[in-house]
């Protein structure tokens, strides 16, 4: 049986302490230990983007990082962005545009889109397509996702003005 090691981090704004095995990935920790199932696991080798979360303000693949590597870090999942204005704008537009079907890629897609709008509040259509090209969606034609992201960018700008 695996030994357990203590892990302390800020998770969605709260200081938390858990015990995890050495080989537990951050994505597994979030889902199985912390019960935060918005983060999905699609490939476990860093390609599909379904497990995208924020660590210390940057987007990372939760499957490519061990939980213990997040010691002392600030980790944010989709659940932790419920009150975030940019995320709310994206969520509203994703719903309106039907920018998802099965929803498995959606959390990762939203977090990636939010990171884009943080760096580049007025991206072009091509920039949106390019930036989201680390996140697979197998159901939609991507077009609604692109339009929802552009729509949210407009909403955020209007809201800020």
């Amino acid at each position: 049986m695996d030994s357990l090691f203590p892990l302390t981090l800020r998770l969605n704004g709260q200081q938390v302490r858990h015990e995890v095995t050495q080989r537990t990935t951050l994505a597994e920790f979030l889902r199985q230990t912390a019960g935060l199932t918005a983060t999905h696991i699609g490939c476990e080798h860093g390609v599909c983007g379904a497990c995208t979360v924020m660590v210390d303000g940057r987007i990372v693949r939760g499957c490519l990082m061990f939980a213990l590597q997040a010691e002392g870090a600030e980790v944010t999942t989709l659940e932790g962005l419920a009150q975030d204005a940019a995320m709310q704008a994206l969520q509203k537009r994703f719903h309106e545009h039907n920018a998802l079907q099965c929803g498995f890629c959606t959390s990762g897609m939203l977090i990636t889109a939010r990171a884009l709008l943080e760096d580049n509040p007025r991206p072009s259509r091509d920039q949106v397509r390019e930036h989201l090209s680390g996140n697979y969606c197998r159901c939609t034609g991507y077009q609604a996702i692109v339009e929802a992201t552009l729509g949210a960018a407009g909403d955020i700008e209007e809201g800020a003005a």
């Binding site: 695996d2 419920a82 969520q91 994703f94 719903h95 039907n98 079907q101 099965c102 939203l110 077009q143």
Partner: protein, 789 residues
């Protein structure tokens, strides 16, 4: 069929661009997939898999794995034999189709790289994998059967010695007279087309938790499946349980595309292990396991020729399709269906009088192949449309004009194709006219000529298509498969006046729940916000076929419509009794009972209060019936065909071989469009899977039969940056076979996108005399066709 069925208060719900409540939930991270559900005493299974494509199993050593702390059980194929009956993927309506008994875990021999051989159950998935590493299986490698020709060669090694050879199924369709037509035709074009293997690549891998209650011998399976009822039947029969003691629940399902309705050894083993251990057991495939064991699709080689008159009239096609299906015909739908549909769909849009199609389905030592989105369609479409373009070029005809001259025209319906398909009414001429206008065809051709002069090579490609939807019993039931062709709905008015709908068609993100709610609200006369739709649980839902082959809207829709009309009648009867009026004087509008003058007499909450809590105020022996059940069977034709046309506009870099997709257009006719917002993105999603097939996706094996595209970095699928904007238009020809008029739409995008891209690439490369017929059209294949490598 001009009857006005829409009540005034609810008018506009069918045909509205309504977003899905489920999308709001998923966007907040509220999805509930199998792997998100917590269970007490949950055990996890991992599998030891064959590293060989073909090998005799000579020994299995499990002691070290059993000794590992945390490991609960280590079982072999022999161990599971008493718990699970084997299955054979044959059906009576494919005479001559053969396959071998298949067990959850390989017994005696392994027949593809990745086939499960030993199951290890442990307290966690990680420990189960540790245990699997300690299992030692001894193999004696056997010669693998990989290539289509090698599989059919005299004296070839056989995948199943008991079946004598590797030919699983053969079929010949012949109208007669084909040879004579070819001998006399002004023009004959021919080619060989190859379609790579691909796979569905759902982002959520195959997942299930089997939870057996030993006291009651009841099995509950939380299963990422499209077809809960089919799986209830399979689990009951093969595990020796009573049907009534098996419950299959499909929670949120993360993509399916036809892949999540087949019977897989891992699923059967997981259920058998739960029975064995008396506790819940979970299997979630990792990505390698998905590539190794999710069904693959396509893998066809087609030699085809087309006879054409001087005027460009298609006179005949002669087609030989060979397809490899791996070592087993997949249960319970069989692996004969894709080839069967491919040779029957050939030439389908056209007035082609003579046809011969020959199909050979062969066994190989590769992952089993079975139905995936647009079964057979992309093969038939690319072969037909490739030859149409080739003939048009030889005759100096514009490709769109060539299609106009040949499509089945409005005056010919109902029309029977030379392969026996019946078309009620299609709209090829209207779709062609519409796409020409949408894309600005003439302007694009001018631009193409201009750019070509400057060394920029753009191409325009068309693909006319037909699409099989709304399958009836002819699909599987007649062959003996216990797969329901009908669907059911139970609809209940709650005391609050809100409506609960339980329907047997299922949801994997297409929007089933939303469109069923739209139909229910429309035909009841209640606000959409008062309707809740539930799917996917065999315990609470009426029995039905569920969602596959684009039958959800077309078969589930009329089911819900019928039920809503029946409940509305019952509600009006209760209202008339309360109001001492005649039911025919009343109507249900926007959740209220209104009289002939349009005045609101009562709302449904008041009706519910009286009917449920104060029935003593109603006449003696009056029993309000506010729950109704109805069932619906697709009528009239074996399937409801849809049709349409796609166009691809792209640029080929003749130095690098890279293709840049510029634009893509689809005009399709799925009959009544229930929700354009959902239909358009469903079409786009289908197109993107077709574009993946055309440009990126191919499962590859090495010469020993080992899978070499085993990660998502090796198996390329389309991403946002590579995809064009996809413009969708509709022509609406409601099917008269259903009161709703709706047909399916899920296959259309995937059916024709590869053909459109192929024709566009060949159009772009026409100045070089280069032609490509092998998908995917990789840079390497394009440069080879250009003679540059």
């Amino acid at each position: 069929m001009t009857e006005q069925r829409t009540l005034p208060g609810a008018a506009g719900l069918v045909g509205s661009r309504l977003p899905r409540e489920a999308a709001r939930r998923h966007a907040r991270g509220g999805g509930r997939f199998v792997d998100d559900i917590a269970f007490a005493r949950l055990a996890h299974v991992a599998f030891v898999r064959s590293p060989y494509a073909h090998a005799r199993i000579t020994g299995i050593e499990t002691a070290a794995a059993r000794a590992l702390p945390g490991v609960l059980a280590v079982v072999t194929g022999e161990d599971l034999k008493p718990l699970c009956h084997p299955w054979v993927g044959v059906l009576n309506h494919f005479p001559g189709l053969k396959s071998a008994p298949q067990y959850p875990l390989a017994i005696d021999a392994a027949r593809w790289n990745g086939e499960p051989v030993v199951a290890v159950v442990a307290e966690s998935r990680a420990l189960a994998e540790d245990g699997a590493d300690l299992v030692e299986v001894s193999y004696e490698p056997l010669p693998p059967v990989l290539d289509l020709d090698a599989a059919q060669a005299p004296g070839a090694p056989v995948v199943h010695p008991d079946l004598e050879d590797n030919l699983a199924f053969a079929l010949e369709l012949d109208t007669g007279g084909v040879e004579a037509v070819f001998a006399e035709a002004a023009l004959v074009v021919e080619d060989e087309f190859r379609f790579g293997r691909h796979t569905a690549l759902t982002l959520e891998p195959r997942s299930l938790v089997a939870d057996f209650d030993p006291a009651l011998r009841q099995l509950t399976v939380h299963h990422a499946t499209q077809t809960p009822f089919q799986m209830q039947d399979v689990y009951a029969r093969h595990l020796g349980l009573e049907e009534a003691d098996v419950r299959v629940v499909a929670p949120d399902v993360g993509g399916s595309f036809g892949m999540k309705l087949h019977v897989y050894g891992e699923e059967m083993a997981t259920c058998a292990l739960s029975v064995l251990l008396g506790r819940p057991v979970k299997f979630v495939a990792d990505r390698l396991e998905s590539f190794q064991t999710d069904i693959h699709a396509r893998d066809h080689r087609v030699r085809a020729r087309m006879a054409v008159s001087e005027e460009g009239e298609i006179l005949a096609m002669d087609v030989v399709d060979e397809t490899g299906i791996g070592p087993y015909s997949v249960y319970p739908r069989t692996s004969a269906v894709e080839g069967n549909q491919a040779i029957r769909l050939m030439g389908g849009p056209y007035r082609m009088p003579a046809y011969r199609g020959r199909l050979k389905v062969v066994f190989q030592n590769k992952t089993p192949m079975c139905q995936y989105r647009a079964v057979g369609h992309p093969v038939a479409c690319a072969v037909t449309e490739g030859l149409v373009d080739k003939a048009a070029a030889r005759l100096g005809l514009d490709p769109l004009e060539m299609r106009r001259r040949n499509v089945v025209t409005q005056d010919m319906y109902p029309h029977r194709s030379p392969t026996g398909y019946m078309f009620e009414r299609l709209s090829h001429e209207e779709c062609a006219a519409r796409i020409e206008q949408m894309m600005g065809y003439a302007r694009l051709r001018d631009e193409q000529a201009e750019l070509r002069a400057r060394g920029i090579h753009r191409g325009i490609g068309f693909a006319t298509f037909i699409e099989i939807t709304n399958p009836g019993p002819a699909f599987y039931g007649v062959g003996g498969a216990r797969i329901s062709a009908q669907d059911g709905c139970v609809m209940k008015m709650e005391p609050s006046g809100q409506i609960r709908v339980d329907v047997s068609v299922t949801e994997q993100g297409q929007g089933t729940e939303t469109i069923m709610a739209q139909i229910a609200a429309t035909h009841l006369g209640v606000p959409l916000s008062d309707v809740r739709v539930y799917t996917g649980d065999t315990r609470s839902s009426p029995y039905g076929g569920a969602t596959w082959a684009s039958r959800g809207a077309g078969v589930g829709g009329p089911t819900v419509m019928k039920t809503a009309q029946a409940l509305r009648d019952n509600i009006l009867d209760v209202a008339a009794t309360i109001l001492q009026a005649r039911p025919e004087e009343l109507a249900l509008r926007d959740g209220c009972i209104v009289d002939a003058a349009g005045s609101v007499r009562m709302d449904l909450a008041e009706l519910g209060r009286i009917a449920y809590f104060r029935p003593d105020t109603l006449p003696a022996d009056y029993h309000p019936e506010l729950t109704v059940a109805r069932h619906y069977v697709p009528q009239g034709y074996p399937f409801a065909f849809t049709n349409g046309i796609q166009a691809s506009h792209l640029e080929v870099d003749t130095e690098t071989g890279l293709v840049r997709l510029l634009d893509h257009w689809v005009v399709e006719d799925c009959g009544t469009v229930i929700n354009p917002l959902l239909v358009d993105e469903q079409v786009r999603g289908g197109v993107v899977q077709g574009l993946g097939a055309a440009l990126f996706e191919e499962v590859l094996y090495n010469s020993e039969g080992a899978l070499t595209t085993a990660t998502m970095a090796d198996y390329l699928a389309p991403m946002a940056g590579e995809m064009p904007d996809i413009h969708v238009g509709h022509v609406v020809t409601p099917t008269l076979t259903s009161p709703l008029g709706a047909k399916g739409v899920g296959e259309a995008g995937t059916a024709a996108a590869p053909a459109a891209v192929m024709n566009a690439i060949n159009d772009a490369l026409s100045p070089f005399g280069a032609e490509l017929r092998q998908m995917p059209f990789t840079p390497e294949r394009i440069l080879a066709a250009l003679g540059k490598i």
